[in-house]
């Protein structure tokens, strides 16, 4: 076990190096150098060249890598070219925004999806089950940006017309009346959380239903029924505990995505999160920011995968490494 953990940690570290190298190369090989987009179109070429020189960007990319790696190992992600701020500072500003948005969406969707999945499974082939599966099929087929656009229209424009300008959800970063603080946050969160949650409810409820159905057909559940236990007790005490394990794993493995944010949803609703930061950085060729986001997500993904594998081995004595 100890040997296995050590080996996995070493492999994980190696993977991270590999990824930093691959992504470093990828950003540098992307045509269009930094300062070529967005910035002042009248900027003098000499100024740009001077800046590029100062940042060492005129050297070939593989010659730039050792310096980057050295800084990375020392926990220094460099400074953003666009914001003129340390990347670590930008990340600490943006990470909470994405975590709040995606965390709320996750909690909301789990609160809806888990009961829905359980009901659908315990009443298989009932009207409720059929309705749930139709809804989840539609939910899976609607991309987040389509839903987002229509929510924008319905919540921001249509609702406003309908109520004569009294009741609407704030759009494009504007504020609603005199609201501020938590109130403002909640108002801004309604539409993006809805658009994210619909998709996850569709996915999670199907998953929960399948998992519950599988458990309900197992021998120990039949034994529990044969003992004369009430259907409720069998369903919720015996079956649910085992059925909910896979969904917990699924959620745990998705946790790193919280930090990477939701590029499209954040873009549509102007939510200042990591997804928007990363996408804008990719468009602006803001190398340190792109690499910072990617490496942060990579570290979390590798760590969570490792933790999940170790947790399996601890929980399930049949697994040996």
């Amino acid at each position: 076990m100890t040997f296995y953990v050590i080996r996995r940690v070493l492999i994980g570290v190696m993977l991270l190096f590999l990824m930093s190298f691959a992504f470093f190369g990828l950003t540098r090989l992307t045509p269009g150098p930094p300062f070529s987009t967005g910035e002042n179109p009248r900027a003098h070429q000499e100024l740009i060249d001077k800046r590029m020189n100062a940042l060492g960007l005129n050297k070939p990319w593989y010659a730039q890598y050792p310096a980057y790696l050295n800084a990375l190992v020392h926990g220094n992600l460099g400074d953003s070219y666009v914001y003129n701020q340390p990347v670590t500072k930008l990340l600490t500003q943006r990470v909470p925004n994405s975590v709040i948005l995606l965390g709320t969406a996750l909690i909301v969707s789990l609160l809806i999806a888990i009961p829905l999945g359980i009901f659908a499974a315990t009443r298989q082939y009932s009207k409720l089950d059929m309705t749930t599966s139709v809804i989840s099929y539609v939910g899976i087929s609607v991309p987040s940006f389509v839903l987002g656009i229509f929510l924008l229209f319905a919540g921001g424009i249509w609702l406003r017309h309908l109520t004569g300008g009294d009741f609407y959800f704030p759009l494009f970063g504007m504020h609603k009346g005199s609201t501020s603080g938590l109130d403002d946050l909640v108002w801004h969160m309604v539409l993006p959380v809805t658009s994210l949650a619909v998709l996850s409810v569709a996915g999670f409820s199907r998953f929960m239903r399948a998992s519950m159905l599988e458990v309900l057909h197992q021998d120990y559940v039949r034994t529990a029924k044969a003992k004369g236990l009430a259907q409720r007790t069998v369903n919720y005490k015996h079956a649910l505990r085992n059925a909910i394990l896979p969904i917990i794993t699924l959620v745990a493995l998705q946790t790193p995505q919280f930090v990477s944010g939701a590029i499209i949803t954040e873009g549509i609703f102007s939510w200042p999160g990591m997804g928007l930061l990363a996408f804008q950085a990719a468009v602006d060729r803001d190398y340190p920011v792109i690499l910072g986001v990617v490496m942060l997500v990579a570290v979390l993904t590798v760590t969570f995968n490792l933790l999940a594998d170790i947790a399996y081995a601890v929980v399930d004595p049949r697994i040996r490494y």
Binding site: S141, P143, I149, I157
Partner: protein, 348 residues
């Protein structure tokens, strides 16, 4: 063990002779409802099966009503996307300067003369209206379907080729190939997909249909790859493969004659569902401006003008591509579900 019921059903089918599909299905239903043991006894004495696994799967699929309806709608979309643009030619990029922002379904009467007599019929130049530049929305929508469907199908072909081969090698031979492959998929999964696509397409020097297909196929194959690997891992140890090996069959023969035919079912299901995933991904990229460049339309491109349209209070230019996109994805998902049911003998 899993395909035991299917064999029984098939045998019952053969008992009915060439009487056909409907009777086989009825027999299947009867078997399922009653588990009819006496029927089975008769069936097992009968001639060997005439309806094979795949034929039976097709029969079962055709009896899945939602799936067949979805297939019909999808075929209609595909045929329209293939035929209509060839008649319309350059209409998708021609600008009607006199009619920008045209509303959909605006009919006016027009006189046509046919065989000497003249009639007045409702007519519209632009059935679904025009965009800000006066381009015909209908032509753009139909032409956009081409991009979405082409990318969906070709990228999936890429998934199957790359993922199938690498997954099969990893599952069959194991060892360092397996390890390297699994770590590679870890790397790909840990990367934010859209960012990578943006960076790689840019590295190719701009987006075209070919680049889009290559990039999506090159980054998305691992799901099929993992599935293939898992299938090979299980089947490699199965008794019929051991028997084949004991008889001295070569690796190639074992792989292609014994393992691949038995591993196809989950791959087909995953591939079908994957096509809708790719179509939605292409639309998302188009939405972000990283699909085919203008004036070539794609459903994602058409939706990317949303900010302007919403501020103008116009929803319909967004409604048509959205409906087309969701309908296509939904149809493919339902077809995939139908195929899953048809191929899985345990499912009802």
């Amino acid at each position: 063990m899993a395909d035991q019921p299917l064999k029984r059903i098939a045998q019952t089918g053969s008992l009915l002779g060439a009487a056909g599909v409907a009777q086989a299905m009825a027999a299947e239903e009867a078997l399922r409802h009653e588990g009819a043991a006496e029927d089975l006894v008769v069936a097992e004495v009968a001639e060997p099966s005439e309806i094979g696994f795949w034929k039976l799967a097709v029969i079962r699929f055709l009896h899945h009503r939602t799936a067949t309806v979805s297939l019909g709608i999808l075929l209609f979309i595909i045929v329209t996307a293939m035929i209509l643009p060839t008649f319309q030619g350059d209409l998708f990029r021609l600008q009607d300067y006199t009619h920008p922002y045209g509303s959909p379904f605006e009919f006016h009467s027009r006189t046509v003369s046919l065989a000497g007599a003249s009639f007045s019929i409702p007519w519209t130049d632009h059935l679904l209206g025009t965009d800000a530049l006066g381009r015909d929305e209908m032509a753009r929508l139909v032409r956009g379907a081409r991009v979405s469907l082409t990318v969906g199908l070709l990228a999936m072909l890429g998934y199957i080729i790359i993922g199938g081969i690498l997954g099969a090698l990893a599952g069959y031979y194991g060892g360092w190939i397996d390890n390297a492959l699994m770590r590679l998929t870890d790397v790909i999964i840990a990367m934010p997909f859209i960012l990578v696509v943006v960076a790689v397409t840019a590295a190719f020097g701009g987006v075209s249909l070919t680049v889009l297909v290559l990039v999506i196929a090159g980054l998305g194959w691992f799901e099929i790859g993992r599935l293939m690997r898992a299938q090979f891992l299980v089947l490699r140890e199965s008794e019929f493969v051991q028997a084949a090996r004991a008889l001295g069959a070569s690796d190639a023969r074992i792989i292609f004659r014994h393992i691949v035919p038995n591993s196809l079912a989950p791959i087909i299901v995953s591939a079908t569902l994957g096509v809708s995933g790719i179509i939605l991904l292409e639309a998302a990229l188009g939405f972000l401006g990283y699909s085919v460049p203008p004036p070539e339309p794609s459903w994602g491109n058409l939706l990317s003008q949303y900010e302007e349209e919403i501020q103008l209070g116009k929803l319909w230019p967004l409604a048509f591509p959205a409906i087309a996109l969701v309908t296509t994805a939904l149809c493919i998902n339902l077809i995939g579900d139908g195929i899953r049911d048809a191929l899985d003998p345990r499912q009802r």
